[in-house]
Point group: C2
């Protein structure tokens, strides 16, 4: 199995014509034929129905397509993720909780770079579950997340918490916040639970999203009320359109630094954890 075969397969699945695929990939039609045949032999199933009146995927081909895409994607990722940018000595691959990336990423990376000038950083905002999986397989070296997923091979350090504040385009008083104009947030299971406990009547809001950024764009577009990161709240209130819902309780989401257990004692990782923790004191 080669990447060429996958590319040919995927292109052919799109064009449904051996000739057009040959043209697009700058190869001859006979080569397309041969590559498809080779791939079919490799997977052990016929992938295309060929007829004079066009080509189409077989059921097997349809099932193979997502896997072909996954393989292609994984190969791209592999290439991107292993190289150290020139000039750097090391490469650190960091995962950052989606919600935190937008607000904190810039500051953090500036500090990381100051602390480790010789190190290049590969950063990917993602969700807790995915980051835990990537730490386990070794695709990530270090991650900052909301929801630690207990696992014998993962180590979590609490690094503080982040505050969510309720803002509104309509009222500064919690009692006047209408649940049908409220954007409910499920940033993490723990956050959602706190949310329901403190303001159960708003839990039935018709709109529910999982990112602070999405809450902001919804509120900006349609007006209403909802929880956003404290830092974002200040900016929006300063902008004039929003006001703080002052008697609504602030919600605090704990933040964790996560690493694979085998790196737990590395000074590098301790230092990273410290830097992140400083932001929440």
């Amino acid at each position: 199995m080669q990447i060429d075969l996958l590319d040919t397969f995927l292109d052919l699945a799109e064009t449904r014509s051996f000739h057009r695929t040959a043209e697009r990939l700058r190869i001859t039609q006979s080569t397309v034929s041969a590559r498809v045949a080779a791939l079919e032999q490799a997977v052990g199933s016929r992938l295309f129905d060929r007829s004079r009146a066009g080509t189409d995927l077989t059921p097997e081909g349809k099932r193979f397509e997502p896997h072909a895409r996954a393989l292609r994607h994984e190969w791209n990722e592999a290439q991107r993720r292993i190289k150290i940018p020139q000039g750097a000595q090391h490469l650190l691959r960091l995962g950052i909780q989606n919600d935190l990336a937008a607000v904190y990423l810039g500051d953090w990376v500036a500090e990381f770079r100051a602390a480790f000038p010789e190190t290049a950083f590969y950063i990917e905002p993602d969700y807790s579950n995915q980051m835990c999986a990537d730490l386990l397989t070794g695709i990530l070296d270090f991650a900052v997340m909301f929801s630690p997923k207990p696992h014998p091979d993962l180590h979590f350090d609490s690094v503080g918490e982040v505050t969510y504040r309720m803002i509104s385009t309509e009222t500064p008083r919690l009692a006047e916040v209408r649940s049908d104009r409220f954007v409910f947030a499920h940033f993490s299971p723990a956050f959602e639970e706190m949310h329901r406990q403190t303001t159960p009547d708003l839990a039935g809001a018709p709109v529910s999203v999982g990112q602070s950024g999405s809450v902001v764009s919804l509120l900006t577009a349609m007006g209403g009320s909802g929880y956003v990161l404290a830092k974002t709240a200040s900016d929006l209130i300063a902008g004039g359109r929003f006001m703080a819902v002052k008697d609504a309780p602030d919600l605090r989401q704990p933040v964790f630094a996560a690493i694979h257990i085998r790196h737990r004692t590395l000074p590098l990782h301790r230092r990273l954890t410290q830097l992140v923790a400083r932001h929440f004191r």
Copy 2:
């Protein structure tokens, strides 16, 4: 990039000896050398440090390893998942919530097979998040899960609910259940929340797991109390060691059938949904 190269890389990463890898793969050492060189050229980085006193992965090589495993795994999966077993006309790929698989899978599959005798089934117990992702990429055709993850391309049907019942080796009375002997369960975010609301004093239990099966094995090994599937509860109580905690509220976890939106109207999927729903009436 070819599978052979990945296999060679992974074997060499294990043996750290060109000769031993050559032996194990039944090729010559010069071929190992050439394959490694080919892979290194393909990824654009040196993957091994060769020295007289042994071979070892470079930092790039270490980072490449998880990707190599992922590629290898994906290729295996692709081969397994596309073939229709002989004699069958179609192949349906089903995902089933981990917790439900152990108890319901047998019955369901028996019914599915009776309803679609011409169809082969590929079944994989998994978690909601992963199943949603697999439905989106087309790796799964149909899934039964606890936690629907809203997405424009996914369609969810409620098919009923499953009941969790508290059992104990120690007492039939809720008031006497000790939180330090309780196994807290987080089968789904929704379940966890209900759990906390109905029995908040047990929420601080020192042991918390995410599968009904794990709860059972923990309770069997160490004794104590916890929620398990009603069906399992009956079996365990009949076994004699456990008793029902009668005044503990039953917890109901909603169950959903999920499909990709483009298959929503297929009669096949409607029928599957009906069959699953029948089990919860």
